[in-house]
């Protein structure tokens, strides 16, 4: 079955350097994990302050930082060939492009010569109805939730 063995990878693809990136010892990863947990705590506490800017930064800014840490240190994207990073960035950029192209029609409810009356109606009714849509809904506000919902049942 020698004919079945793969030809060595083409010149473009260098020999595997897979083991190259596992140069860190376990402690390094535990440290990264510790940082991620600290960030998690910040991202939960930040929005509790109720300030919009702080919420945005702590919730979404930190999500991006966390994603970067995972990508860099757990997925070793820095050691990987450059095109992998470009590929992922391209995919995210395509999604931004999509949202950019769709937003004017879907995100907004008023446009040039059109008006999304149904959406405006649901917004209005939703705001009027306030919290839950049924009797139970009102009882549960975010802050009152038990910390560990699962074992409680």
């Amino acid at each position: 079955m020698s004919d079945n063995a793969h030809a060595p990878a083409a010149p473009g693809a260098e020999p595997s350097n897979a083991h190259g990136h596992a140069a860190h010892d376990d402690k390094f990863y535990i440290r990264i994990w510790g940082i991620l947990l600290v960030l998690l705590v910040v991202s939960v506490i930040g929005p509790e302050l109720g300030i919009r800017v702080v919420t945005l930064i702590t919730a979404f800014g930190i999500a991006i930082v966390k994603a970067y840490l995972v990508l860099k240190n757990f997925m070793h994207i820095g050691v990987e060939k450059k095109y992998v990073a470009y590929l992922l960035i391209t995919m995210v950029a395509l999604m931004v492009l999509m949202v950019g192209g769709v937003g004017p029609d879907v995100l907004r409810h008023d446009g040039h010569r059109w008006s999304n009356v149904a959406a405006k109606k649901t917004v209005e009714e939703g705001l009027k109805a306030g919290g839950g849509h049924d009797a139970h809904g009102g009882e549960h506000k975010a802050g009152e939730k038990p910390a560990e919902p699962a074992p409680a049942h």
Binding site: H112, R113, W114, S115, N116, V117, A118, A119
Partner: protein, 239 residues
Amino acid sequence: MIEHYVDSASTFSGDIDNVILVILASVGFWFILAEVVFFWLILKFRAKPGVKAQYISGEKPHEKKWVTIPHYATLVFDVAIIIMAIKVWHDVKINLPEPDSTVRVIAQQWAWTFVHPGPDNKLDTPDDIQMVDELHVQENKTYHFELTSRDVLHSFSVPVFRLKQDAIPGRIIKGWFKATQTGQYDIQCTEICGIGHGIMPARIIIENEAQHRVWNTTNAPKLAEVAPTTPPTSAGGMP
């Protein structure tokens, strides 16, 4: 070109026909040129015994110009077409001239409801005239339409006006037209809307001022309050 097949009955239908004609001329030129060159090459370079093909990489500048020159020519033609097309698009879909009257167009599976403003020329008054599958408009008057749908997507298309706009449930979309000649024409639904999509024809009836007045008064809901002396159309409607 289109006007030979389908009457041109709105102020912008001629402009749209012109865009089509210009595109036809420019792409027709390129199409014919490319096909002529193509068939000429096939005829000229048929295999002949003992004659070897030429070795042309197409990477040298003097060879590449055969591709780059058409490339830039295409770009020039594209720009010209874009400018014309967007100009017409602005006239039809973006600018909204002051209306003389407004009609409401409601699509549903599988019929059109047209709400005419009636003799007082105002919508949502008791003398509104509702008609199914029949839209009555007056020539030389700028109409706005408010288009919506009750269930699924439909599309309000009046070929003689070169006008087409999808109706979306939950949205009100505005547009305009101004008829330039009288007559009776098809209104189509051009977005598939279920099994009755093929049986959703309506008619647009374009009338002159006198006919339209008669139609307005005879069809308006018989209400005591309606003052027949009020001119059914505002005088400013005539340009």
